[in-house]
């Protein structure tokens, strides 16, 4: 089973890398960029009986390692 986990910074957490990318896009002439937030994507192959079980395992993965829940949110697509 293929899954994708997306980890993003929580709202309100300053993202200096996103800010730098935002500035670079503007200076490259890419217009209308209001804001950029940088995150991470994990493409994961997982064996599980069904998507509910897979999701359960991936929640554990996110809580234990993939996301630092002090500053990050995660979402799981299967």
């Amino acid at each position: 089973m293929k899954a994708r986990v997306v980890v993003t910074l929580k709202n309100g957490v300053l993202d200096p890398q996103g800010k730098a990318i935002e500035g670079a896009l503007t200076s490259l002439g890419v217009s209308d960029i209001a804001s950029v937030r940088q995150g991470k994507v994990f493409d994961i192959e997982i064996s599980a009986q069904d998507s509910t079980q897979a999701k359960q395992k991936l929640i554990t993965a996110c809580e234990k390692l993939l996301a630092n829940t002090v500053i990050e949110n995660y979402s799981i697509e299967i």
Partner: protein, 229 residues
């Protein structure tokens, strides 16, 4: 004072740390590999040294924070044992849950490697009792992710309970502006755990123990530890 220094793949300050501990305690620290499950018997102090454990993959300290030896380090801390984390060691302590908060990318996005003044905020701890209250010390910093961040409730608790150990300042002890090298909340350079037996800090006191290399202001921390047990 018997100490153990944990070595992760990518640690690089363990030698400097061992030298500082040896000088102050007159005991050679034991190097403990991250994949071990136990600390040497009779260990009083566990040190997580600086470096780039696991190449800073995922997040700084994230993978090291979940290494096999960390269960033993956690148990040691729960028993009231002393734990010191410097630089990457501080990041590992935050990632492992032994200290609150997180160290984010420096606000200006650059790696900083320079001398830095700190104000000693707390002297009633095993790590800092040889310093004078509000003493200004000069040590060095070398990090790209030292920007301490936590939610407001955590910051309030740290401040209210006197758990901020060191703050960044200039040579006169003035806080703020360019004296803050990384954008840390409240100029925080180091914090204690609730029982003050765990200390994490970004600067490197272990590199300021010899007049030959720029000063001895780091000795206070190791001399404090040496007479703590």
């Amino acid at each position: 004072m018997k100490s153990a220094v944990i070595v992760f793949p990518g640690s690089n300050r363990e030698g400097d740390m061992a030298r500082a501990l040896q000088q102050a305690t007159h005991h050679q620290p034991v190097m403990v590999w991250h994949a071990d499950y136990e600390l040497p018997k009779g260990t009083d102090l566990v040190v997580l040294p600086g470096g780039f454990s696991y190449g800073d993959y995922l997040r700084c300290g994230a993978i090291a924070g979940r290494a096999a030896i960390m269960d033993a380090v956690r148990a040691h801390a729960e028993r009231g044992g002393l734990v010191l984390g410097v630089c990457n060691g501080f990041q590992i302590l935050c990632e492992s849950g032994l200290l609150p908060g997180v160290l984010m990318r420096n606000a200006h996005l650059r790696f900083v490697c320079r001398m830095q003044h700190l104000r000693v905020e707390q002297t009633n701890s095993s790590f800092t009792h040889k310093y004078a209250a509000r003493q200004i010390i000069k040590v060095c910093i070398a990090h790209g992710e030292g920007n301490y961040e936590a939610d407001q409730a955590t910051i309030d608790r740290l401040e209210g309970d006197g758990r901020v150990a060191f703050r960044y300042c200039n040579s006169e002890g003035v806080l703020g502006g360019v004296a803050n090298p990384n954008g840390s909340r409240n100029e925080i350079a180091g914090i204690f755990s609730e029982k003050k037996n765990v200390l994490g800090l970004m600067p490197h006191p272990e590199n300021l123990i010899d007049p030959l290399v720029g000063g001895i202001d780091g000795r206070g921390l190791f001399d404090s530890l040496a007479s703590a047990a």
